[in-house]
Symmetry: C2
Subunit: 208 residues, 2 copies
């Protein structure tokens, strides 16, 4: 970046470092830097320390592959969780959404990505070995729910995982259901979702 | 903030530190943190270093009061600039805008704020002494242009500065002109700006 303003180098470096964050343009980055320097030096120090601490102390949970401060994360080490069901998600954010919905009380495995051959991301890059080993050696697991996204890459990942995990006949493999979102009107649903809702329709009980 | 997700403490600390930045909500902050941890650890380290460097090395220029790595900043130490005119602005961002417009080649003084009695910001908090001393002891200065914003606080600041600086009879005090922005249509101008454009109208040359 050629700097069109006469600004001190260290200030420009900080602007560029913030500009690297997702969703932060040059203008917002510059605004943040001036805000920190003019009004919130304490905030600057807090951010600086938080970055160092996160970089130094956050590791991957050896069981679920998500971020953790301990070898085994809070969810994986919680004895109240149902250790017979393992839910596979793409990212920690997906796990957070499931957690806040309180619909699931089993354990997770976080892929930290999805299969994306065009970007050079295959089973090796996502360390599927680790997941397969986890699913096959943990004798408690009876069911694996694949909760990858319903995008092209997410579906590819789900198919692939379903294939390799179903070699183990002791485990039931399932996938989240597709259909019409709760609370929505059929008039406004895209035709793709509507098609899936028809294909995967469920029988209702018939009163006799 | 009560954390509704089961997330490691160091991760939550970083989310909160980023949440403190202007324009960054909790959701964006969390997205940034996961982005850094999953895909851009290098970016995390760069940001961390940039913050430390900025905090350690950025000082205020002793002449213009803006941020600088040296005692006297690049603009103030540039011999090609017109040292007879001093332009007073509220913030370094205002200075940047003037610089990029290339309309002004004199020197600056950055107030780093504006008079705002309701927030407890008076002449003392903005260190007006420093500006007055600068204007009165620098014998090169012939004109001071007050370029504070045309908001209530900016106008108050301009009036106040104009009063105290005009005690020195050797200096011409001026203020940026008010009026209709270049390129705009009268139909869409707010009545306040229109009123000022009438009050501060200029005589045009009359052909004889």
């Amino acid at each position: 970046m050629k700097n069109k303003f006469v600004e001190p180098d260290y200030l420009v470096d900080l602007v560029q470092a913030l500009n690297r964050l997702p969703g932060i343009g040059l203008k917002s980055a510059r605004r943040m830097v001036y805000h920190l320097l003019q009004y919130d030096i304490e905030g600057l120090e807090i951010l600086s320390k938080a970055l160092i601490n996160a970089n130094k102390n956050l590791i991957r949970c050896i069981k679920c592959n998500s971020f953790s401060c301990q070898q085994i994360c809070q969810i994986c080490s919680n004895p109240d969780r149902d250790n017979t069901i393992l839910c596979i998600v793409e990212t920690p954010s997906d796990m957070n959404v499931l957690e806040s919905s309180k619909i699931f009380n089993g354990l997770y495995y976080v892929l930290m990505g999805k299969l994306s051959p065009l970007d050079g991301i295959g089973p090796k890059e996502l360390n599927f070995e680790h997941l397969i080993e986890r699913a096959n050696t943990d004798k408690n697991i009876l069911e694996v729910i694949i909760a990858t996204n319903f995008t092209a890459e997410g579906e590819t990942t789900a198919h692939y995982l379903s294939d390799i995990l179903s070699i183990n006949k002791n485990i039931q493999i399932s996938r989240l259901s597709r259909g019409i979102p709760s609370g929505s009107e059929i008039e406004y649903i895209d035709s793709n979702s509507l098609a899936w809702a028809f294909i995967e329709r469920k029988k209702t009980k018939i009163s006799k």
